[in-house]
């Protein structure tokens, strides 16, 4: 049916999108004015010229570059690891037959809804025993695999990878691992990309676990933000300059891969 939208639909959508952008703009606006302007009621609605000053002060107040590096290392490692192990296991669940496959898969599905918060106390005790509290290992190791990733890759490969391709590779004398490497992995690429993106974002934005295990001297971006706010002065030009800066990496990622994110969510590739 032809349902061409009119001004009304475009108007409402525009209003919604403005609402989506407004807080980010506000953050930049506050972060771009000097402190003196801000303390006098509401700032002008056009950006001021102090963004880099404020950003500089934020860099002085907290180890921001280190935080950025830490977040990149942790999120990148976790996302890559999750994708690799999930594709490996997902391929086996989708295309190979072996004893115990069904109960194992049921187990994976059953653990999907278990909240991670439930495990933080023992994880903390273990990390303390290993001497990892305060180091990035404490963030990376507990997140190396997710049940969701395995399930997601299995669902994708079930349809996307034709059995004939596997059979052909097997007839050619490929070992199963070689088959995985040359046939399954390329076929899994679109889903793997989406899983990587969402795992990266979820790790990057996590706050609870890093707050528990990381000290002020070795933070991720989110923990650095928290430090900006919890000092003796809450200087919002500084805090929101920091909030804006911390969002830029993900904004860049969003501009580059937003299409895939939208497609991923709409296909059910949703993990936050």
């Amino acid at each position: 049916m032809n349902r061409r939208p009119g001004f009304f639909v475009y108007g409402l959508l525009t209003a919604f999108v403005l609402g989506s952008c407004a807080p980010l703009y506000w953050s930049f606006l506050v972060g771009s004015h000097s402190r003196e302007v801000l303390t006098k009621r509401v700032p002008p609605l056009l950006p001021g010229g102090h963004f880099w000053d404020n950003a500089q002060r934020a860099f002085d107040a907290v180890p921001f570059w280190k935080a950025l590096g830490n977040s990149l290392i942790v999120s990148g490692t976790v996302a890559t690891s999750v994708v690799f192990f999930s594709t490996l296991a997902g391929f086996a669940f989708a295309k190979l037959t072996f004893r115990g496959r069904t109960p194992m898969l049921v187990f994976v599905v059953a653990t999907l809804a278990v909240p991670t918060q439930l495990g933080v106390i023992p994880l903390f005790i273990v990390m303390a025993k290993l001497g990892w509290v305060g180091s990035l290992w404490a963030l990376i190791v507990p997140s190396l695999v997710t049940a969701f990733g395995v399930f997601f890759m299995r669902q994708y490969l079930l349809d996307a990878l034709p059995d004939e391709l596997i059979d052909a590779a097997r007839v050619d004398g490929c070992s199963l691992f070689r088959t995985f490497w040359t046939v399954a992995l390329p076929a899994a690429r679109p889903a793997a990309g989406i899983l990587w993106l969402f795992t990266f974002m979820a790790t990057w934005t996590d706050f609870f676990w890093p707050l528990i295990v990381l000290p002020a001297s070795n933070p991720t971006v989110q923990i650095a933000l928290q430090q900006l706010q919890s000092g003796y002065y809450v200087d919002y030009s500084l805090v929101l300059a920091g909030a804006t800066l911390s969002t830029i990496p993900l904004l860049v990622l969003f501009v580059l891969t937003g299409r895939q994110m939208v497609a991923g969510i709409m296909q059910g590739a949703v993990k936050g």
Partner: protein, 306 residues
């Protein structure tokens, strides 16, 4: 032949080994810690049975946190689903530059909860915030966002809503697009307008997805932490803990009161609460599914978010 027999296990074993260590073992160990006296610094103490659970259930702040969590959850999920439905309906039209619109509504999703909390914390300043400036400009009394219980819940829920509405709209949009177009054509022939079509065809037909969105926002909403934690500079949920959530309560017990035994008891109680809420939603969705007959597309898959 050995390859075909052994390899599958080699493929799944890295996942299972790691998952058992970092995913399953902590669950069991939480139960073990919860039945002991266990200090953050002093470590394991005496076995105390269900004493920690009794102390948690007798603590008025546990019930306070439970109330706050449910209140914030209701304030965030109900408007969120309604607005997401409407938004998905708007997007489910023949828009020009449709990918751009879809990306635009997803924008808030890339802002981390910690940053969202700081931005909204500024907007909802009690005395010098933007929200109150607007409210007083209209001629109303300013609202004490950080003081009054309901107002603080509204402010925190608005952060959650802002970040997740567009995201949920895309899930609902996917379901809407699977609704066969000929249904609309016959409805249009019967003289049903667009709004009527939306409420009596679209919404009922994507009902399983709607309920799915509700379930996942339940699981996420009950674990809310960063937004209320960063809403003020002290992180305890206000002078009267008027916006302390269950996860904040867990954190306070574990890392402020330094009682890991009690905190573990809270973790298990939180888990039970989530299971109960999820089961209730599931039962409702089953019933709704059988009442409404077929749906062409099953709900998209999704892990616990947030």
């Amino acid at each position: 032949m050995l390859d075909a027999k052994v390899s599958p296990y080699l493929f799944v074993s890295p996942f299972f080994v790691l998952f058992l260590v970092v995913g399953m073992f902590p669950l069991g160990y939480t139960a073990w810690v919860s039945v002991h006296q266990w200090g953050l610094l002093s470590g394991q103490g005496d076995f105390t049975g269900l004493e920690n659970y009794r102390r948690v259930l007798e603590d008025r702040y546990f019930w306070n946190a439970l109330r706050n969590t449910i209140s914030i959850f209701l304030l965030s999920s109900i408007p969120q689903v309604l607005i997401a439905l409407a938004l998905a309906g708007l997007l489910d039209t023949q828009l020009r530059a449709r990918t751009l619109w879809r990306m635009s509504v997803l924008l808030p999703f890339v802002v981390a909860p910690a940053a969202v909390a700081l931005i909204f914390g500024n907007v909802f300043g009690d005395r010098y915030g933007l929200a109150n400036e607007v409210i007083t400009w209209i001629g109303l009394e300013p609202i004490r966002w950080h003081v009054d219980t309901l107002a603080s819940h509204v402010a925190i829920a608005s952060m959650v809503n802002w970040r997740w509405t567009g995201y949920n709209a895309l899930i609902l949009l996917a379901a809407m697009q699977a609704v066969p177009r000929d249904v609309y054509e016959s409805a249009a022939l019967d003289g049903a307008g667009r709004i009527r079509q939306f409420t009596s065809i679209t919404v009922p037909m994507i009902r399983p997805t709607v309920i799915f969105v509700i379930i996942t926002s339940t699981i996420g909403g009950l674990q809310i932490f960063a937004e209320p934690r960063l809403f003020d500079t002290q992180g305890l949920g206000g002078s009267d803990r008027q916006y302390q959530t269950l996860t904040m309560y867990l954190w306070e017990l574990g890392w402020r009161v330094r009682d890991l035994g009690m905190a573990s008891a809270v973790a298990w109680l939180l888990f039970l609460i989530i299971v109960v809420f999820a089961l209730v939603s599931l039962l409702v969705s089953r019933r709704a599914g059988t009442l409404k007959g077929h749906h062409r597309r099953s709900a998209p898959l999704k892990g616990a978010r947030r």
